[in-house]
Amino acid sequence: MTTTPEPKLLDVRDLKVEFRTRDGIAKAVNGVTYQVAAGQTLAVLGESGSGKSVTAQAVMGILDTPPGFVTGGEIFFQGRDLLTLGREERRKVRGAKMAMIFQDALSSLNPVLSVGAQLGEMYQVHRGLSRKAARGKAVELMERVGIPAAAARVGDFPHQFSGGMRQRIMIAMALALEPELIIADEPTTALDVTVQAQVMDLLAQLQREFHMGLILITHDLGVVADVADTIAVMYAGRIVETAPVHQLYRAPAHPYTRGLLDSIPRLDQKGRTLYAIKGLPPNLTAIPPGCPFNPRCPLAQDVCRTDLPPLYEAGPGRASACHFWKETLGGAR
């Protein structure tokens, strides 16, 4: 392929997802646009309920339908719009071309099947390998993600492994068919801090090795800084700011991002009350008009209560959905 410019690996455009529940329609994702290139890491940051996991599930095609429905937008993956594919074609993409790592490896692995069977299954289903050959592949995978005595442990069950080892197995499963894109949904949240670092290192190393695109979903700003290239901050189902990682840390262009950064505990502020963004994220069945962040925003003006801010370009590779991004970027606090 020598086409120029190189198409993005994943190009999500104006994606909309809603959940039709008894209590009304919850608009979980309201027009998310992001891109991931091969070898790049996009970190998607946001509170619980900001739509970061739902967006990823829509990209993977594993939304719970019903109640979840994709109601608009496009998901281009290697140039094809996944939303136009049939069910069977879509399935063949999942696991083989794009894979997902989940948060809690203990509940995300099947408790009654050996890890070897669960890893090998990828080769049996997608590559048509025999059970025996698949098991051999499973051992290789386990060795690759650093599980000691892999050949002896291939028949063990998930509950017989430690938390860190289980997450390594999850990673191995995602990696099995060397996909172009990996979506990691809070891969380290359920782990000890020391193990977190090991797992993140492993993930970053494997990503480099296979030149994969990586979407890292997290609410942990600390995890992001070291591994991500770009950050997308989500709020109430929208991207409120995107920026290259270091620029975002140095000078956020959205009051919400600023609030998030200010609420990181810092050693030099020991003893002082930790900053917290006041208020709560909006109810997704009744998102306020105007900018969804306006009830909590220290900069909110009348215009914020009436007009939804578009994503303003805020410099090279940067965008902010704030009417006052210039003021925010300038450091008016």
């Binding site: 399935r91 894979a99 997902m100 989940f102 509940s107 692995l109 009654v112 099947l113 990828m122 289903v125």
Partner: protein, 307 residues
């Protein structure tokens, strides 16, 4: 595992002794078998005394019990009052009931699990609701009603099957009685499976299986069903014992000469050796069925380990 089995087998001994003694006590203490032998006519006192002595009936109850147990372990279950050895009755009755139970278990497993899976995967929709109503109706109708109604409709009115089962009870003729016997359990299996499937369908590992790009049938059979069947297997296992002993009504309706039929006859005629003998075997069936279920648990769910 081996130690666990040995411990369980040892635990069976007191249960076996306790339950057989209770049966023995109830059957022998609550009626005079010698009087029953003679029916309406009063027996000659000397003959009656002679029979009592021959049958150890003049001994205290605990001695009778010990003697009986001693004989049982030598393979002698005594003689029915018509002179036939009880073991002969068993040899004729148990294969028939075993076949009936097999038919019933198969029906309840296949139909119950299928219905349960379909309704569980479509929770809250029309299929699910109708299956639920069906199971509710089935559970509410007693066997003697459903048995006679089905026998009349299928056997007599439309003539699709033979209304009564012949003496050697071939599998084909046992289909309808099998359905009747299975109905109530089938409803339970359906509901158990449905709940289990609906609950597990939202489990994280099912989402993982979908994210792995597995075909839907593989997600359901290999990942969802495997986990959902654990409570169902327990029920079916314990139900084997219940079906074998509880087929009295069904066997009566369809004139099947199995365990239920013999038990019914035995109770009716106060034929104590038959009743005690058959029930003793049923106790053993129950005990072993339970043990096998518990062992199956560990096979189905590797998180369970017996030491």
């Amino acid at each position: 595992m081996g130690r666990y089995v040995i411990r369980r087998l040892l635990q069976m001994v007191p249960v076996f002794i306790g339950s057989t003694f209770l049966i023995f006590f109830m059957v022998y203490a609550l009626g005079d078998p010698v009087a029953a032998m003679f029916g309406d006519r009063a027996p000659d006192p000397a003959t009656a005394a002679q029979i009592r002595a021959d049958l150890y009936l003049d001994q205290p109850l605990w001695k009778q019990y010990l003697h009986y147990m001693g004989q049982i372990f030598q393979g002698n279950f005594g003689t029915a009052f018509n002179g036939q050895p009880v073991t002969e009755l068993m040899a004729a009755a148990f294969p028939v009931t075993l076949r009936l139970t097999l038919v019933a278990i198969l029906i309840e497993m296949i139909a119950g699990i299928l219905l349960g899976v379909f309704s569980g995967l479509r929770r809250g929709r029309a299929v699910d609701t109708s299956v639920l109503v069906f199971t509710l109706v089935v559970v509410s109708v007693p066997t003697f009603v459903s048995g006679y109604v089905l026998q009349f409709l299928l056997g007599v009115k439309w003539g699709w099957v033979k209304p009564a089962v012949s003496i050697d009870a071939p599998l084909g003729e046992l289909l309808l009685p099998g359905v009747v016997l299975a109905l109530v359990s089938l409803a339970y299996v359906t509901r158990l499976t449905r709940t289990s499937i609906a609950e597990n369908a939202r489990a994280d590992y099912v989402r993982t299986a979908i994210a792995k790009g597995l075909p839907r049938h593989r997600v359901i059979t290999r990942h969802l069903l495997r986990n959902s069947l654990i409570p169902v297997v327990t029920f079916i296992g314990t139900d084997i014992g219940a079906l074998m002993g509880g087929a009295i009504v069904t066997e009566r309706i369809f004139n099947i000469h199995g365990v239920g039929f013999q038990l019914y006859q035995g109770i009716l005629r106060q034929n104590s050796p038959t009743v005690v003998g058959f029930v003793t075997i049923l106790v053993l069936v129950f005990l072993f069925a339970n043990l096998i279920v518990d062992l199956l648990y560990a096979v189905l769910d590797p998180r369970i380990r017996y030491a």
